[in-house]
Amino acid sequence: MAIRIILEKCTGCSLCIKTCPFGAIKIQDKKAIIDLSKCNLCGACVDSCKFGAILIEKTTLTKVNLNEYCGIWVFAEQKKSLIQPVVWELLAKARELAEKINTEVSAVLLGFKIKEKAKELIYRGADKVYVVDDESLVNFLDEPYTNILINLIQKYKPEIFLCGATSIGRALISRVAVKLYTGLTADCTGLDIDLEKRILLQTRPAFGGNIMATIITPFHRPQMATVRHKVFASSKEDRTRKGQIIEESIDGILLKGRTKILEIIEEIGSTVNLSEADIIVSGGRGVGSKENFKILEDLAKVLNAGVGASRAAVDNGWMPYSHQVGQTGKTVSPKIYIACGISGQIQHLVGMQSSKIIVAINKDPDAPIFKIATYGVVGDLFEIVPALTKKFKGVL
């Protein structure tokens, strides 16, 4: 048993009951009792108890010499030799964290004929860039990328490793963290340092954003996290920044893998990648048809925005699944999310409620979307959206 009440210390004050997010504690005979089938061992009650009466037995043995690890690393994801915008956000955050613990920021860049791009990472805040350049790394493949990162991490021992929560990042870093036997926190929206312990505090949403959790990796290194797009500001380019570019040569055996890309098909064409979009114009059942989505696409074009869709719109075949926002689609957090004809089912809201500004256009004044919208318009989207497009066309 990993959690227990020290009966001599418990006063039955019931403070712990109020803090338990899982409703796992009750008071019986003036003592707290934990229902282990409900308890998730999150430890919220331990902190709340003023009498030190709740004990979680955690491992304190550490096999890893934590002091051997230093520096913050950022995975510089590239596609078609273009460094992805989320990397600038990671570099900005990494710099901020590095100042706090007085260490340096490094980026790791894998690709083919990619060396030239390394200095962009220095301009944006990296002190060092480790580059592995090989023909077989031109596109992301789970195994070679994993092998190389493990090799470099074991060689240089960074204390923190950050990566974008992209489809590549989530697949790659999960594999790396397991192989290294270290902790990984997915999809972080907040990162900070506990200065006293020199530990990374990783905050992320769970239960579709209904609760937030702060997570640490106390005894394993590196402390790894993937970071959600658009949550942190990008670092600015400074072409006078200096840094070191280190070319790594890699044993050919690490480049081998059991998957092979036969073809790459781009579907979104000229439209904007949803997770990287600053603005998203999204449509739901109220849009009514595939043809009507054209109205939203026109607005999106003027605003340089991505086009999103609710599950209803996708299930009706009006938009491809790759545009779906929500629980069974994508989670996005743009600066502006314009929801047109979307009623605001919770499954949709969990995919977009971290957007900075939410605009709702809906003819039903009771639509739940208005409860979370920064700006709401009760009205006909077929009139409002084209008028808005026209208005922006005049200035943008």
Binding site: P21, E143, S167, S174, F207, L388
Partner: protein
Amino acid sequence: MNIIVCIKQVPETTEVKINPETNTLIREGIKSIINPFDMYAIEEAVRIKEKYGAKTTVITMGPPQAEEALREAIAMGIDEAILITDRSLAGSDTWATSYTLSKAILKLGSFDIILCGKQASDGDTAQVGPGISAHLDIPQVTYVKKIKEITEKSCFVERMTEEGYEVILVSLPCLFTVVKEINEPRLPSLRGLLKAKQTNILKWSAKDLNLDETKIGLKGSPTQVIKIFTPPSRCGGVIFKGETEEVVEKLFSVLKKEIP
């Protein structure tokens, strides 16, 4: 061919609400369901069985009540089910969970394809699938939207990316995490429901799996949750009313300032 599906029982998150007075999740009356993404993994396993012939096994790790989720999978057409349940596994993070599941898969013997949902709707990490393949040291393809063809030693799949998709050839055995686009899960048949009632669900404990005790549950988990809190709730803002021209003007003036 042996196909293994790993699933998770989750609260039906649409109903998860927080009691503002006590700051606790209101769990009463909340149904448990199979993680929505795992439904696609189950369906895909059944389709592969129907097309190529295969033995399908579903595995979950969780409290005893997770048995319901396994029975539901059997009702959809899965052949066998295994429940890994043990108090010592409580508090497992994604590392410890994927370690435990990989040990159960090894105990089952040979396998060709492991299917998982893209992510679970409660934790949203998308880490356990790739974690299992890392523990087993087999190739993985995440975000699979189509299994095109399975041959004796390999498989052609389509992997969804931010920009479109990739056609990938992968050697077997391997692990796939699947997205919604891959299929439409069926409703259980009457015969399936009957079978689900009668099937004996195998239960394995930590001891049955010969797990390294230092690598399971809270103690074996590299990550620790130190705080749980409610995010500041969003409340409704300004509602613009009036004629189209008027509201568009108002909306335009507030948005103009925010456009990057």
